[in-house]
Assembly symmetry: C2
Homo-oligomer: 582 residues x 2
Amino acid sequence: MPDVNANISAVDACVIGIDFGTLSGRALVVRVADGAELGSAVHEYRHGVMDTDLAATGRALPPDWALQDPEDYLDVLRAAVPAAVAEAGIAPSQVIGVATDFTACTVLPVLADGTPLCRLTELAYRPHAYAKLWKHHASQPQADRITELARSRGEPWLPRYGGKISAEWQFAKALQLLEEDPDAYRLAQRWIEAADWIIWQLTGTETRNACTAGYKGIFQDGRYPSRDYLAALHPGFAGFADDKLAHPILPLGSRAGSLTARAAGWTGLPAGIAVAVGNVDAHVTPPAANALAPGQMVAIMGTSNCHVMNGSVLAEVPGMCGVVDGGIVAGSWGYEAGQTGVGDIFAWFADHAVPPEYHAQARRRGLTLHELLSEQAASQPPGATGLIALDWLNGNRSVLVDHRLSGAIVGLTLATRAPDIYRALLEATAFGTRVIIDAFEAGGLPVTELVIAGGLMRNEFLMQIYSDVTRRPLHMVASAQAPALGSAIHAAVAAGAYPDVPAAAAAMGRTAAAAYVPDPRAADVYDQLYAEYLLLHDYFGRGANDVMHRLRALRDRVIDEHSADAPPAPDTALAPEAGVRP
Amino acid sequence: MPDVNANISAVDACVIGIDFGTLSGRALVVRVADGAELGSAVHEYRHGVMDTDLAATGRALPPDWALQDPEDYLDVLRAAVPAAVAEAGIAPSQVIGVATDFTACTVLPVLADGTPLCRLTELAYRPHAYAKLWKHHASQPQADRITELARSRGEPWLPRYGGKISAEWQFAKALQLLEEDPDAYRLAQRWIEAADWIIWQLTGTETRNACTAGYKGIFQDGRYPSRDYLAALHPGFAGFADDKLAHPILPLGSRAGSLTARAAGWTGLPAGIAVAVGNVDAHVTPPAANALAPGQMVAIMGTSNCHVMNGSVLAEVPGMCGVVDGGIVAGSWGYEAGQTGVGDIFAWFADHAVPPEYHAQARRRGLTLHELLSEQAASQPPGATGLIALDWLNGNRSVLVDHRLSGAIVGLTLATRAPDIYRALLEATAFGTRVIIDAFEAGGLPVTELVIAGGLMRNEFLMQIYSDVTRRPLHMVASAQAPALGSAIHAAVAAGAYPDVPAAAAAMGRTAAAAYVPDPRAADVYDQLYAEYLLLHDYFGRGANDVMHRLRALRDRVIDEHSADAPPAPDTALAPEAGVRP
């Protein structure tokens, strides 16, 4: 029985987990005693993802940009939390703690008091003043230099990130800010993950969490990259970590502070309740599956795939996203790897490459297009499509860490049909996951159990492919909103209801064991296809033929040269008036 | 002024060209004096292409089969010829000659009197008794052995075919017949191109033409492959050429005979008029463009591309389809190369990979889907798609001569849209043509002029791409039905109206010169993309990565193993009753 606030019966105590996704935020009310999910609500971000133009000006953004307006995050607190409490039918006074998880690295420039630069009138029209969403990929040139310099100097932290620093992370995005909009860089007194910024809004004080500091902020062995290294990158960047990042790092599940009166007003929750330190959607999920032991790999499958696993030892796996001490749970080495496009790719295909008769048939039969394509693709045995695909339509995170790679399909004939290509894309993402598992095992980290979470769990055909391709049973997290449940578990720990996250996870998290088991005959065919995948993976991904890079560079150049109405470079001139927007 | 039958005014004399295509036959009435096209008519084949099941039985055919019923060809004589004469508004008595052209190698087994085996009741249910259409590709294993044995024995004719004998041609298809249906092979007293069979039906006597004998029948330097070679291929095949092929070979444009009373009854034309020897759709086209000089390459662009060119010298171009003495016009070496999928690939894409909104927009604006996709693809500069494709969805004829290759697309991103892929496929076929031109020039055959014919002439966007990619002006044949016009030119020669084909072509054929000229800036970008195409072409096509072969073999195996209702092997048992079908 958890140890809760004396004024609330242990049976009644609840916590709230808030999961900030790419397009919306979800609040979930969870009973502390057993993890029962009592009610939830979703709030869609008003500005969504700004990847074609900036809402404030309507002006076009360059390719590969992806911004958000942090005001949208506050709206989730104002809308989704009260709605979830109402749906749960509990009294707000039953809530003893709140925790959040966020997409990452989603990062923004703020003043010393946490005010986002984009809230300043004189900066609101400048793209660089906004939050850069995780999938903002325009910092690739900076990321390349960060990696190259670290490699040439033998920086000790580089192997902890699989040998490459991603364009998605804090340093690349900050260096892009400095180089493209130095005024905004100078005005940014802090550079902070949205994961930590939202906690600042809830508690009124800045905190930094071990997860994003480690995975996205290159914080290793108690320090950031050296001033010396940063100065070599760019003279103006020397003080970046000291001036804009440095702050005590708190372990996951610890209490960041108490809910302020202002935040209590937004959420309808009692002021003063516990707020946990920030966390990340993927990393908060293993507790929801009660899968925190070394070797239990949790794959969170949605628009992208994220693979997280605890290890008792420090190993350096080429191409992993990172290994961070306490990155998933305090006291273990947290490993992370990922695939940048999964559900995103399936959605792209359904939206842009499926002829009308499939849409009509799906409507007629009351199926989604994905259900119809899966059904038709499933009617043939593995190997019958004659196709192999590379799942890099959104780049490759693990193990190649290269956002400039692109997708490929080989084996097309005049007899190829939409469900064939759909299947090949599903299979390709499964092969991508197998590459990651193989890399972990080759790196000395056996994967003893594969646990699946995320929205793609619902596609049974896809799940069977993953089981067959990896030759492993799949255990499924037993919650449709695992990140929010994981956050709730952290809230319970922050509130003192459990001594630590593993204890809370044991009481509140759960999986369905071996929900899918591999079919040996299918697995044999997939072994052959996987060998083909690996050949192409290495040919296109490891430099034997850099055609994907060249095609992308050519594309960027000709669009730049030929397009009379090319989108302008982001605004960097300061606006005449100044002040905070209402 | 041509020298025509004394009873007909030279101004009034007409000829008829009949073009037998893949799905239909077209008759064209042409004025002998100047090539004016007076009227035409098309007749669709009742059985079309039998590639999924045999019409006579409804039973499924194995993969890669493509059959036709020769009765459909006779229907063209009965329907299209009278209709064309009627449309022309001429008297049948004005017609002084008839000539035909055909798809090739389309070949059938017949009795000594020309009766197709499929007309025999006891054979009508057997697929091997029918005409094998040019794109019947199920003879690939036989073709491989034919090539391999010729290579190991150093047969002198092999280099004349670019080093490979195609599965599409007479010997591979006949060897498949022998091995899979030996009874039908034995009953086939003659093995004849449809191009020659139709002339047999018009004149009542068997003839063989220099074009198909050379390109499709391995007839070189006055002889077929030796009995010794054929016996080494298969003991039962030793007499194949002597018994089923051998016959005097007539030059193109010569008179095969006179229209029989029976054929006069079918066509409504006067009995006794001249009938030219058989010819092939591609090879009959250069006269229609009056492009018979060495170096004038004519690309006939339709479902597939065929490239034909005369040369004054004998050269051996690796990967060409063939070089034949008098193969295009008597007295010159006729060179042929080809691409197995062009318009077929664009149609595949439009039918199977374009989402509903494009269909709806095309309908709304009264455009074909191809017009809409071309318009949208044309709105971006070359290189902007970021894509490169291999145009092998129907295999590769020149220069790789490998029907088991397949298509590939590289460079896909989440921002890729249907017009981008469409454009990449268009470009890929242009790169394929450039590979062929480069091979000719490297083989010592300069291509001094590029002339375009065929249905794809109408796509201006595609034409500009071909001009840019090849860096050449395009001259366009000035007839929408060039093969039928080319046949008519041969009919005029056979009728004695002109001394030879070049003289008739000069009077009756025509082009629009330099209708498209290359844009140097686009050509520069295409040079870069072509370099990428070549890299992938050689990687996938020349054995560095045989993944396309392996995927196809795996596909065939798993479909065979897993499919409970796999299509049965073609029937080979003789039916109990015998006799000729009515």
